[in-house]
């Protein structure tokens, strides 16, 4: 039915309808939900066990506020990093921006819908994790833990507003080319900083670390100060939660009000901005076989993915503790027990990321289909290119393992290959969404793949951990 005005709810409903029609549930088998539900049940069971154990501890309010603050710092930092990347995507991917901005819809409505979309995508994975814990806490009588269902989306709303403010302002002030570079840099810096903070016990003396964390814990004099409101909101106190939500919504609204025009101008200039010319080569690189030509094309698509470096570094942060263990900067009792599962997990995640770029960048499947090549050439070339990129990142840590724990190499390689192959097969069928689709095209990928990918990588990491710790090979 035709509606008289393009109101905000109308536009939001339109976006949700498009998302639903492009969703995996309509595009593929409904049985894809089975592994997702299985993973959710496992998470919930683990959460119940953790909470049952924690029930024996009684913590004073200042300590609870400290725990909430630490969680909020990590959560908001990682969310901000992700929101920055998503905001860049919204501005730079052409999608339907031209179409919408050419219509008489007010830019503020378009911006609002886009920001809500980013906030939802940023909140979703954390909400899934936190929900398992909150449900478990509620199950054991701590009903206020259910506040996570409101506070986490509100944190996402706040960081999304900050991310859009930063990206839109950067595009307006330094232009689309530099703004994308700077924004990706900021997103990466935040991610690395938060990760480094998580590793603080390994490089900060215990006394200094204690002093650092105590700064986030109230004392008897200031326990009612406003600075602790977010933590109290996170703990489920009603008035702080209400105030926190109000502040988040206010910031969101202010960004909408003040940046809508800049967003429209920025989107037009950013969407028109190309990535610049391809690197000039003295000689053309014509290949004799379809496989080699397709592999080369895939590697080029990979190399030209805008967030390749930042997102690869971001995903490879697990290499930091690996490197520190391998170089002997700190010793964990079970060195291989930590290093090898981490490497196996990382290999799987990188494989899923790289194959998703290739599948998402495949704009002309009909070209390959109309060529005189074997049906499986495209799939094999995609696997080969993604695995090749993956092994380039993994080569150094694998060499490190060879030097430190050479007897683990066959098991490590087997588990890495298993993790890579599982994720390649998964990603080829269900890539993760990395690029906004062109106008009129269906979104490639689904967020379900993230969950399935983490599950597949975790499974292989778990198998590797069992192999390392139980050492079944020693009995042979």
């Amino acid at each position: 039915m035709f509606k008289p005005t393009a109101s905000f709810p109308w536009l939001l409903a339109h976006e949700i309808k498009l998302l639903w029609r492009g969703s995996i549930l309509l595009r593929t088998s409904k049985y894809v939900l089975v592994p997702v539900i299985a993973v959710s049940i496992i998470f919930q069971a683990i959460a119940l066990l953790i909470v049952k154990y924690l029930q024996t501890q009684t913590l004073p309010l200042p300590v609870l506020i400290l725990i909430a603050n630490i969680n909020l710092i990590f959560l908001s930092g990682l969310m901000l990093s992700r929101a920055m990347t998503s905001a860049i995507d919204v501005l730079y991917a052409r999608g339907d921006a031209d179409f919408l901005l050419a219509s008489p819809i007010k830019p503020i409505r378009i911006l609002a819908v886009r920001m809500i979309g980013v906030a939802a995508s940023v909140a979703a994975p954390w909400l899934l994790l936190a929900a398992a814990l909150a449900n478990a806490l509620a199950f054991f009588g701590n009903w206020q833990a259910l506040a996570a269902y409101i506070i986490i989306p509100m944190v996402a709303v706040l960081v999304t507003a900050i991310a859009f403010l930063s990206v839109v302002s950067l595009v307006a002030s330094i232009g689309p080319a530099k703004a994308r570079l700077v924004s990706h840099g900021i997103a990466l810096f935040i991610g690395v900083f938060i990760f480094a903070l998580g590793q603080a016990p390994h490089y900060i003396a215990p006394a200094n670390l204690r002093a650092l964390w105590l700064a986030f814990m109230p004392n008897a004099d200031n326990i009612n100060a406003a600075i602790w409101l977010p933590a109290r909101a996170f703990l489920g106190e009603f008035i702080p939660a209400t105030l926190f939500c109000a502040v988040c919504m206010l910031v969101f609204w202010l960004v909408l009000l003040t940046r809508a025009r800049q967003f429209a101008d920025g989107t037009i200039s950013a969407a028109a901005y190309g990535s610049g010319p391809a690197r000039r080569r003295a000689n053309a690189a014509f290949r004799r076989t379809p496989f080699a030509a397709t592999m080369l094309k895939n590697l080029r698509l990979l190399l030209r993915f805008p967030g390749l470096v930042t997102q690869t570094v971001y995903r490879s942060l697990t290499l930091v503790p690996v490197t520190m263990i391998l170089t002997g900067h700190f010793a964990i009792g079970t060195g291989p027990g930590v290093v090898i599962p981490l490497l196996v997990f990382l290999a799987g995640q990188l494989a899923l990321f790289f194959i998703s770029i290739i599948i998402g960048g495949e704009q002309s499947p009909d070209l390959l289909a109309s060529a005189p090549v074997a049906q499986q050439t495209g799939r094999r070339a995609a696997y080969a290119a993604a695995a090749y990129a993956c092994l380039i990142v993994m080569a150094l840590p694998i060499i490190g393992v060879v030097f430190r724990e050479s007897q683990m190499l066959p098991m490590l390689l087997a588990a890495i290959m298993g993790s890579i192959l599982s994720n390649l097969m998964l990603g080829q069928r269900f890539p993760i969404p990395l690029l906004r689709p062109a106008f009129g095209k269906t979104q490639t990928g689904t967020v379900f793949s993230l969950i399935l990918g983490v599950s597949a990588s975790s499974l292989w990491a778990c198998l590797a951990w069992l192999a390392v710790t139980i050492h079944p090979l020693a009995t042979l």
Partner: protein, 270 residues
Amino acid sequence: MSFSHQNAEPFIGLAQAPTRNNPHENSALTVRGLCKSFAKPIINNLDLTIAPGEIYALLGPNGAGKTTTLRMIAGLLKPDSGSIEVFGVDVLTAPRAAKAMMAWLPDEPLLYDKLSALEYLEFVAGLWQVEPATAAARAENLLETFGLWPHRHERCEGFSRGMKQKTVLAGALIHTPKLFILDEPLTGLDAAAAKLVKSILTQCAADGAAIIITTHILEVAERLASRIGILSGGNLLAQGSFAELQAAAGQHENASLEDVFLHLTTRADV
């Protein structure tokens, strides 16, 4: 009745001189009894024969089944029944051998935004296994011909629609196909580029290639094609030279192809 209708055999120009061994080996494209349905029948018992060196324009109103027909010929879509042969090679049983002789250009350019024009040609040449030195020489020549040489290192994402169309045409020509399947090839081209493409296609036909083309620009079909087929509701209503179609439609010799087209398709709808 002056034109074929529904399942009847089109009345003009179908007969090809059969040879002793394979009646179709002298034709570039032979389609027999082609049927395809999705929710409803799209193509209904289509017969079509195109000779080497011939430019055949397949016309029809929107939804007539032109693109579906071309996709089946290109081996991208399996027909429900019927046969398709390209230079005597069965597209359904030997698709790779058939595809090696074909170039398929859909109405939307099959390009990669993140590849440059030269890199795109490298990819296409690799798919059709063109010998690298030959491919490099042809690529240079084609890029020069289409005026893309100064832009050969630029990514296609920055190209205009016309430049994209020229790039995919260069891609089609790099492996010197014997059968061109072109769906609206002149879309987005300026007058000079359209003239260039028409002259290149005419030259390819003169060199022995067969070309099947769809277009909504009837003037292009009238001037370029040696034979024209009119498809409507999945049926080939009529085919032949422009003059034969005029006669079939009972139109006088000054009637335009537009008049003939509208006359035939309107009668079919009635």
